[in-house]
Symmetry: C2
Subunit: 716 residues, 2 copies
């Protein structure tokens, strides 16, 4: 992570006084002809140069044989020559002092080892000469306000409407889909950049640039992989401070998708869970489709900067019982709630109707009908439990009723800072759409993407829980010394195993203040019996062999040893089993403990996104149950608490019959200590986990643990 | 469940020679004027009568004061008079011999007790006079081929395009949304019926009618609640035999949605899980939105009747890496798979490209580009692992490429029976949509609903696993006698408790051949110690008191008793605890067993849908983990096996480290025995469950159980 290079996106990239198209074909049917055509069609007002050694003129412009022949140094060069020539052309640009080059050419890191070498050479040019590169393997960029259409995507052929939404994308081809969808939703574009292989300027450079770009109000990222989680968090915090909503369409959130991403780009998609946790920590919305991404931008443009919802409660307004039910059913899966209306609202509704019992979703036909829906809509918007209003609209039988209902929604919105949106799968007449749009009420014909976008909006409109207090907090002095000492010892031991066995790992966890089950190595049956006597209950004997992680499968675990005879017998069996192992092992005795529920907790390093705390239902089949969640470090105790109370673990702890009210705080304590330990261990740590962590009537106890260190030399 | 009444939907309902509009207002601004206007506008060619005592003429037609005054008996009457008058009008119709009356009037079961009484009176008219009712509280019906627009929804005002898709709906208001969405997707309607409160003819009557309707090829149900699960299964089986795909949009699948449904109709929405299981048993598709319902019908019309996929593998075709990744990510959540291509396909692709490594999703730009995409598209469609092809299309830079790619997909479809569909969130030019439509390739701009519809199609195109073999299979003779004997005893015992305690329940389960933990009542500490000695390991002592379900919470459970002293001590404590209970209790000794994983299994009766086997992760916090699935009874062993291998339980059993390969079959054995027992117990049984059922290294063992019987008199 040597990024960012100083300087960021050069100011002239989006405001070039001159652009050179290098490799522009004179043949109008060729792809390499198009950028020139599109640039002119787009209305670019600066100077255009053409470099093409095989033509004297291209589309009426004089063509120069070499970049060095140009009459002036262009601010931006757009390279459409093949890979090997592109490197040559880039070198010429660098030497000439060209500010930025957009390398549309392919044949770089996406194309095997030779291409990867070529890409390294490109990066070296930046370091030597200061030229900045976009790409290679990019479709180009677009800036509507600057009338700069510089690329060869179908969208580059169009004069796109100016607007406040900017997009940075790892996929260039999606530009035409995005721009067409934005156009259908009447959202204008500010800037689009396809960052390609990111040999130099990367998504984060452009993200930082757009935060400061006065023409950009909403930032959309189409993301395959990030290079630096920490920097992403910093920029996202700046975007929030600037009042610019940010949403991410992450490509490759499933194994199938990630495989597909790897197949066509040079990036690894990384763990979807780690991205989810990083975006949560950044307070950045994540959506799952182009439709939802554009819907997010439409919604973002309708609410005032700085607006914050109280929660995730929706008011649902409808003129059809069925429509209200559809919305209620659909929002729940996105973590939204149909708000329980305040008593004052309920009373007011009762007064209108003349009888009680009206609930949300609110069917206006049962309260005076659409002609009298104005008052109802305002009541809903004003309710303190309502954070946003969703209206399901269908074409009503009466033209008057139709107009009245749309007007009622628009009117309610005018007096409310809360987002209002209309879902109309059967579409609405244009005049109603216009009437609603005039009051910042967008109309969506796809309920799924609209609701997903609304959920993402409500989830991210409030700042994320602070993630820094814990890192600032000094751990208990004695603990800190202990941990630091052990950590230091860990890092200097040469030739230490990469996977720490459970005894070594548990010592570290115990040193960090986490309650661990009583255990210890026993040299002979007498020691084992003495251990059992001290425990006063059944014990477990295990064979501990470096490199053997699944001890049960290897016959190295004997449970429920509750008599001296059983202890002796198990000890003898283990000795025989250990004799068959390739490396020597030792026998460890452990108190046999039982608990209601087993968790898995830990810390995992997901380079380059950062470190994450991990929590899920544990035990031997944790992988099958597969509900593990991540929380990015450093996390405050408040963030940890919210984390513990979410997901399956949260549901278990919230169950009415859960015996120990303190358990969530107990788990936060364990996570906090894991975070402190991980911080002390530093970059040598790859992952550590306690599985199971027993919870129930008593305080949590670690029963088994694992710690994985990075291979030496693999950390700075 | 006295339905269905004989005769079903009268043939003349959709083919009336004459229609009387009862209560048609002369005022064109009134809602009650509209049905007449719409009927005429729709092109109805039969005779139209008007009944309105307060006008001599309505819209140019003579108005009669009373139904009895009409010059002829109409085949169908449409009643738009208010509730109380509607009953009077319905009575007149009945006496006159009118065949069917569509009761659009409200004020019936949806409107409190008085309305419910009124609705009963309506039903009584059918029984007395034979007239058939649609509604009350219905928006009406529509039959395009018969030019019969009989209702007051906005869609009734339009001449809808004729087509092969019919809809039966519990929501009348959704008709305009549905018809507009169908129109946008170029799907024509055959018949629409809003069944209203179903005082007489209900959704299933119309479902049965449409299975035999020659103009209907696809049947869509917008469903709040069914009255008879068994009858639904029978009609669905007939629809399958007739080659008519069926999809259901179930309203009220969440608590919020169900609450909303109850608020506006007289139906209870019932358990979403039971509906899911019933629809699975019927092989009927379930979707979650109007968009997906219409998308399903569009897809259904493109594949030949009788087509059956091999599985759920998709070929994904794209001209953009990002688009392919989006599709791959999106399909996984719907239980679809990106197909692993056959070796022959891979070889052929390698031959085209000249190098290996191409995978699905297939980016045609990396294999000769769109101009050469024809061959690629055909290879994908021909691959045996591919069950359907999804193409992600965006507007390509070159007009040639654009046309070539669309042609390639259309061409591939022409030679394949497999569904092909195009997803284009940015929409496509009309000529490309037409080119694709001509070869049965629908284009969707909303990926979420298109993928949901495709998943529903692939899941239901094959017949559901037989659900009847088990019921036909005779249980082991001795078991059957045993079970029947006990069942008989259960049913005759007067004053028996509604909730059977665990000892009584476990006896029944053991009698049905399910392995249960060793247990028995013990009268004194000596008996308890003797029990422990026989077990040869630790035991549990519990206080069993009728009416106390949560024994642990009441201090009535002592675990891990592994010495005679502990047994004595626990026995004494239990005796004291029982002395404090309001009713006498007994002490039960049980072997203490441990296992890897605890399940919950059982049988639940969800009237009127039927009985269902139940399976999920068990233990004390089963409710919090909340992954219980249902399977409708009777279920064959094959259906049970598929059931056991799905969901969280399936993932646990499929984990590489699961120790006992026979476990799925073991669980099927338990389910099979539960089914036999439930059948023997008959209608007295409300629910029974074993929780936990211990699984792991050994065969499953029931550790605790519960059985709930219906209150006496509550079953036939």
């Amino acid at each position: 992570m040597t990024r960012p290079r100083p300087g960021g996106v050069p100011p002239r990239l989006f405001h070039p006084r001159s652009v050179a198209i290098v490799g522009a074909s004179a043949d109008p049917l060729k792809l390499s002809h198009r950028p020139l055509e599109y640039l002119r069609h787009g209305g670019y007002e600066g100077e255009i140069f053409v470099v093409n050694a095989r033509a004297s003129e291209v589309a009426g412009l004089r063509s120069y044989a070499r970049i060095a022949d140009l009459p002036a140094v262009p601010d931006v060069a757009f390279l459409v020559v093949p890979g090997a020539q592109a490197l040559q052309a880039a070198t010429e640009c660098a030497r000439l002092g060209v500010g930025s080059a957009v390398v549309a050419s392919t044949g770089f890191a996406e194309a095997g080892d030779e291409g990867a070498q070529r890409q390294l050479a490109l990066t070296a040019l930046t370091e030597e000469w200061g030229i900045r590169f976009i790409g290679p393997n990019t479709n180009g960029l677009y800036a509507t306000h600057q009338r700069l259409s510089l690329g060869y995507n179908a969208a580059h052929a169009q004069r796109l409407a100016e607007g406040p939404v900017s997009i940075i994308s790892h996929s260039g081809a999606l530009f035409s889909t995005l721009s067409a969808r934005m156009n259908a939703g009447a959202v204008g574009l500010a800037k689009f950049v396809a960052v390609g292989n990111e040999a130099d300027l990367d998504m984060l450079d452009f993200f930082a640039y757009l935060v400061d770009d006065p023409q950009t109000q909403v930032i959309l990222l189409v993301l395959e992989a990030l290079r630096d989680g920490e920097r992403f968090l910093e920029i996202a915090a700046r975007a929030r401070a600037a009042g610019k909503p940010v949403a991410v369409l992450k490509l490759g959130t499933t194994q199938a998708g990630a495989a597909s991403t790897n197949a066509h780009s040079s990036r690894l998609a990384g763990s979807a869970r780690a991205y989810r946790a990083l975006l949560d920590a950044a307070g950045v919305a994540q959506v799952s489709s182009v439709e939802a991404l554009v819907a997010f931008s439409r919604l973002a443009l309708t609410h005032p900067s700085g607006w914050q919802p109280r929660g995730v409660g929706l008011g649902v307004l409808t003129a059809s019982g069925g429509g209200g039910t559809l919305i209620a059913d659909a929002v729940v899966g996105h973590g939204l709630e149909v708000a329980a209306l305040d008593r004052a609202t309920a009373n007011a509704l009762t007064a209108i109707k003349g009888s009680p019992g009206l609930t949300n979703p609110l069917d206006v036909t049962s309260i005076g009908g659409t002609l009298r829906s104005g008052e109802t809509a305002k009541l809903l918007a004003a309710d303190a439990s309502v954070d946003a209003v969703v209206a399901f609209l269908h074409t009503l039988p009466s033209a008057q009723g139709r107009a009245a209902f749309a007007r009622a929604i628009a009117e309610a919105r005018r007096h409310s800072a809360k987002p209002h949106l209309v879902i109309a799968p059967g579409a609405l007449p244009a005049e109603q759409v216009a009437l609603l749009a005039a009051e910042d009420v967008p109309v969506f014909s796809d309920s799924a993407s609209a609701i997903e976008a609304l959920a993402a909006t409500l989830k991210t409109a409030r700042p994320p829980l602070a993630h820094t207090s814990a890192s600032a907090k000094a751990p208990q002095a004695r603990d800190a010394e202990d941990v630091d000492g052990r950590a230091a010892a860990l890092q200097v031991e040469p030739g230490q195993p990469r996977v720490l066995n459970e005894v070594a790992a548990m010592k570290l966890f115990a040193g960090a203040g986490i309650a661990c089950v009583a255990r210890g190595f026993v040299a002979d049956p007498a020691e084992a019996r003495a251990f059992a006597a001290r425990c006063g209950g059944p014990i477990v004997l295990k064979g501990v062999v470096d490199g053997v992680e699944h001890k049960s499968d290897a016959g190295l675990v004997h449970l429920h040893l509750d008599t001296p005879e059983k202890v002796d017998h198990a000890f003898a069996q283990l000795q025989r089993a250990l004799a068959d192992m390739p490396v020597p092992g030792r026998i460890c005795a452990q108190q046999m403990m039982r608990g209601e529920v087993e968790l898995i907790v830990g810390v995992v390093h997901e380079a380059p996104l950062g470190r994450f705390l991990l929590l899920g239902m544990g035990g031997r089949y944790a992988e099958a149950i597969d509900d593990v969640q991540l929380l990015r470090m450093p996390a405050s105790r408040a963030a940890m608490h919210a984390f513990v109370c979410s997901g399956t673990v949260g549901r278990v702890l919230n169950a009415a019959r859960w015996p120990r009210p303190r358990t969530p705080e107990d788990i936060v304590d364990v996570l906090d200590r894991l975070q402190t330990l991980a911080t002390a261990l530093g970059p040598a740590l790859q992952a550590m986990e306690i599985n199971p962590l027993l919870i129930g009537d008593a305080a949590p106890v670690a029963l088994d643990a694992l710690m994985v260190l990075k291979p030496e030399g693999d950390h700075p």
